[in-house]
């Protein structure tokens, strides 16, 4: 209910904005700041802004933002907090010189490369944990949000690049330009070692051009399909020849560069990569493409055409500055409208990070990374050069169920064993009989059944232990890693409810739902949850209003309630 009035207000605001747009003398046409000032600054607005510009909001953050006021908060949002985490220092591998390498035997060289590879992989893993920590600690949430955006926009995958150091350097590049100019970033990306390897440009030579980078540069990184011809791709590939990478460093190989005359999108000359990038930046399609992607990311919907057009013009006029773009967006009443607020399906990374923040638990970054990966978003491992589709594509029958399981693990109420064990009754001949057997013998009491090996096992080889089978192996390993990682779960949901005197079943449900969800609970879900709490409470013989007094039972019930809330459809939206 509390949001209804807000939405009405927003609607009224947009209506007046539309009316104003029609009248050239209206003051708001010249002074967009006045619209922004008229935007409400309440808990809902703060939460929405932090959901989209960062990774969720804690009650304390919302209070702090309200105290600061809108303008000061936005300044802080773009600048970040003073206590930012120290930068990640890359440990450069100590590579032997060519002379030293020659002195090694075949065997020694092999060992050396194995060691270098191992250290490199370990460092990338460490970095990914560091990155998740940065997202969760939220000292500069908007920057972290943009780093993630660029990672999905200028994709590269460690699987193909096979060089962790280059992947880290690319991420640091995104960090450096996170809120800067897209134009600068586009210039930088054509000399980014990870990108050059990922899109085969190291093999793009004068004698044998490789079109991969040229094509994706136009199709995905700047213009979009339909705004260039096949000939443009071929010519652009020539301009990119000689841009190579060696040991995670950029090198320009002059001998492999094609210095001849080329024509790209109607511009002719002895084009090199920078000139090519400038040609792309000058196309009308370019700001449209970038504005469309940014709007889609932050608003969580396919943006209306006119909206893209107006933001594209703005982006061009502001030299592709992303900070200017986002300031405009965060001052735009449409961004706070009913079509946008609470309508967006959250991706796996933000699902993991934001739920930790809302719950107030701090698992190591790598636990979150493993969880996000299980849900379909592995950092440094996008599915292809187009990145993650996002939106409804995040949600399949299995990823939805798995989201609930991972939250259960964060809360400490779900064990890996609970996910993998099967009741023997599953094997019963007849479904009804099986259901009966299940209720006779609750899951908790029966011995976990070992799942059936996927292939008839060969003697001696099988010993199907730990369910560690076939295609389940990856999932299982990820979950076990999450479970075995040691961290202290400082979680006191009882205290959270007690602090606001939420003691009745209903008040408890309302309190947790409001803390943990970005959207309002449906009445049906609320009834189901209250019923659940009542059922648990009565089965434990506890009077209503007394649940918070019971240390173990009370906390366990609240955590289970949190698990349920975060497994609901509502928990997938913000």
């Amino acid at each position: 209910m509390k949001f209804c009035c807000y939405w009405l207000m927003t609607l009224a605001l947009s209506a007046s904005a539309i009316a104003a747009a029609g009248d050239p003398k209206a003051p708001s046409a010249q002074k967009p700041a006045s619209t922004a000032n008229a935007l409400p600054w309440d808990a809902r607005a703060v939460e929405h802004l932090l959901n989209r510009a960062g990774f969720g909001a804690t009650p304390a953050e919302i209070d702090a933002a309200l105290g600061l006021g809108r303008e000061a908060f936005l300044v802080q949002l773009f600048a970040g907090l003073a206590n930012d985490a120290p930068a990640f220092e890359i440990d450069e591998p100590d590579r032997p010189s060519p002379a030293e390498r020659r002195a090694l035997s075949e065997e020694e060289r092999k060992k050396l490369y194995q060691r270098l590879r191992r250290e490199d992989t370990a460092q990338l893993l460490e970095y990914s944990g560091w990155w998740f920590d940065a997202m969760a600690q939220s000292h500069h949430p908007l920057r972290e949000r943009m780093v993630l955006f660029w990672h999905g926009f200028f994709t590269s995958s460690a699987k193909e690049v096979k060089n962790g150091e280059a992947m880290i350097r690319q991420n640091q590049l995104f960090r450096q330009h996170a809120l800067g100019s897209y134009a600068d970033l586009l210039h930088a990306i054509v000399r980014d070692p990870a990108m050059l390897v990922y899109l085969n440009n190291t093999k793009n030579t004068r004698a044998a051009p490789n079109e991969n980078l040229a094509r994706e540069l136009m199709e995905l990184f700047s213009l979009g399909e339909g705004h260039y011809s096949e000939d443009d791709v071929k010519e652009a590939a020539r301009a990119l020849t000689g841009f190579q990478a060696r040991d995670a460093q950029f090198v320009f190989n002059r001998r492999q560069h094609d210095a001849g005359k080329k024509t790209v999108l109607g511009v002719s000359g002895e084009l090199d990569a920078d000139q090519l990038v400038d040609i792309l930046l000058a196309q009308d399609a370019c700001p449209r493409w970038v504005a469309g992607k940014l709007l889609q990311h932050f608003e969580g919907r396919v943006p209306p055409k006119e909206r893209v057009e107006s933001y594209a013009k703005f982006l061009r006029a502001n030299n592709y500055r992303v900070d200017a773009f986002l300031k405009k967006l965060f001052d735009d009443p449409v961004f706070y409208s009913a079509e946008v607020v609470g309508q967006r399906i959250v991706g796996p990374i933000e699902f993991m990070v934001a739920n930790c923040r809302r719950l107030g638990v701090n698992p190591p970054g790598n636990v979150l990374a493993a969880g996000a990966s299980l849900l379909g978003q592995q950092v440094f491992g996008p599915p292809n050069v187009k990145g993650w589709d996002g939106g409804r594509a995040w949600i399949t029958t299995s990823t939805f169920l798995q989201r609930g399981n991972l939250v259960g693990m964060l809360l400490g109420v779900t064990r890996v064993e609970d996910i993998f064990k099967e009741d023997p009754a599953m094997l019963a001949d007849d479904e009804n009989a099986a259901d009966g057997a299940m209720s006779d013998e609750p899951m908790g009491e029966s011995e976990p059944m070992e799942p059936v090996p996927k292939t008839p096992p060969t003697p001696g080889k099988q010993k199907a232990k730990n369910n560690d089978l076939g295609g389940g192996r990856g999932v299982n390993a990820g979950l076990r890693m999450m479970e075995s990682s040691r961290w202290r779960r400082e979680l006191d949901l009882r205290e959270r409810c007690r602090a606001c005197k939420a003691t009745s079943d209903q008040a408890i449900v309302d309190r947790l739902a409001s803390d943990l969800l970005a959207v309002e609970l449906s009445p049906e879900a609320r009834v189901a949850l209250v019923e659940y709490v009542r059922g648990e409470r009565t089965s434990l013989g506890i009077e209503e209003g007394q649940l918070l007094e019971k240390k173990a039972y009370g906390e366990a019930t609240l955590r289970e309630l949190g698990h349920l809330i975060l497994s609901l459809p509502e928990a997938q939206l913000n």
Partner: protein, 413 residues
């Protein structure tokens, strides 16, 4: 039937680790393909996608075309190794079991499949193949989504369309019948006890506008989420049950594709209600080092698909299952400078199964008469789709594809 099952049970008990199950669960059975009878089994289709753009010229190699030998060096499959079909073309040497399927009349190869004015963008071409529409995703749902709507509009079974793998392909995209999807049946569930499950079910099951489940497309993301949650809960139990109970008749490799196909067999035999399955073999985007990478993929194909077909062979499930293999585009005729090939256009498709009239269909495109360095397609891929829609599922193909395409007589009946 009981006798059969008892024997199966004894067989199952022989597996170590199974004694626990048979001892505890009275009457437990393991089902294999031979235990399913005719009346139960509907016709199903398995889509097998070669993701990334398969170099068809390295799979069905036109060694008899001079164009092949002059265009291909680093990626050339040596003629002496080929499994020759005639004096023009040969299968990749790794495809021995696939070749046997062809010889046995269980595999119909359609050469030169593509579409007019081809697009070399990876993603746009992917969309064209998955929507069967040159507009790509601008045309709306995937072609299977449209098929489902035309063929089984009232079938609300959450397992009607199943994808086994990571990302659900666009072809399955449907607003009314979203596919069930999982990487593996193991662990495909929401872990909670009975009262928790009941609460989640109630909490996620909401009547909007007084109608529970209708043809209506979800009006917003929340409605979509509720539908997927409902489907997920219903689907996960049926699927795990079928996977647990399944007993293979052939030995599947540990390969991911083989395991996915093993699950397809389990779900078909377990009769979970599926009509379309989708699985993937990915890694075909071979811009560099193609020879090694493509060879490995051909080996994976050959250890996987024939095992699956042999597992269900001779059973009612076998008679009612077709596999259609395709890729979203072919590759350029001429190699690039990196020992690989860039995105091209046309390529071979095949349909395999017991209902297939095996042999070669279509026409291999010329390697000398090219369009800007690319093969010119000889068969519209939508003819293959139309054949399956019309001749296999008995649905008017124009209702799904929006236009009429000539059918290919590659089925026995």
């Amino acid at each position: 039937m009981n006798l059969d099952r008892r024997q199966l049970l004894y067989g199952a008990g022989a597996l170590a680790g199974m004694s626990l199950i048979s001892a505890r669960a009275e009457g437990a059975v393991k089902l294999s393909a031979s235990a399913v009878f005719a009346s139960d089994v509907p016709r199903t289709l398995v889509l097998l996608q070669f993701s990334g753009g398969n170099d068809g010229l390295s799979m069905v190699v036109p060694f008899g075309d001079d164009g092949y030998n002059s265009a291909r060096r680093a990626t050339r499959v040596p003629e002496k190794d080929l499994l020759k079909l005639d004096d023009y073309r040969g299968f990749h040497p790794a495809l021995t079991r696939l070749r046997a399927l062809l010889d046995a009349g269980k595999l119909a190869l359609v050469e030169g499949a593509g579409y007019p004015t081809p697009i070399r963008s990876h993603f746009k071409s992917y969309e064209v193949w998955h929507t069967a529409d040159l507009r790509g995703r601008a045309a709306g749902e995937g072609w299977i989504g449209k098929l489902v709507k035309a063929a089984w509009p009232d079938n609300r079974d959450p397992n009607l369309v199943v994808h086994i793998g990571k990302n659900v392909p666009y072809s399955l995209y449907s607003l009314t019948h979203p596919a069930a999807s999982f990487a593996t049946p193991t662990g495909y569930k929401w872990a909670g006890d009975e009262s928790e499950r009941a609460a989640l079910e109630k909490g996620g099951d909401v009547c909007e506008h007084g109608e529970k489940e209708t043809e209506r497309e979800p009006a917003n993301n929340l409605e979509y989420l509720r539908k997927v949650l409902r489907d997920g809960q219903a689907s996960s139990e049926a699927i795990r049950r079928a996977a647990l109970r399944y007993r293979t008749r052939t030995e599947y490799d540990a390969d991911e594709l083989a395991q996915a196909l093993r699950d397809v067999a389990a779900l078909s035999v377990g009769q979970v209600g599926s009509r379309v399955f989708s699985v993937e073999l990915s890694g075909f985007d071979t811009h560099s080092d193609q020879k090694n990478r493509h060879d490995a993929l051909m080996r994976r194909l050959d250890v996987s698909l024939p095992t699956f077909l042999a597992d269900i062979a001779g059973s009612e499930v076998g008679k009612n299952t077709l596999v259609m293999a395709f890729s979203e585009f072919g590759r350029r005729v001429k190699e690039n400078g990196s020992g690989g090939t860039d995105h091209g256009v046309a390529g071979p498709m095949f349909v395999a199964g017991e209902a297939v009239k095996g042999g070669l269909y279509g026409k291999h495109p010329s390697l000398t008469k090219l369009d800007d360095g690319d093969l010119i397609h000889t068969t519209d891929f939508r003819s293959v789709y139309a054949t399956l829609i019309q001749s296999w599922f008995g649905v008017d193909a124009t209702r799904v594809l929006g236009a009429k395409y000539p059918l290919i007589p590659l089925l026995t009946a």
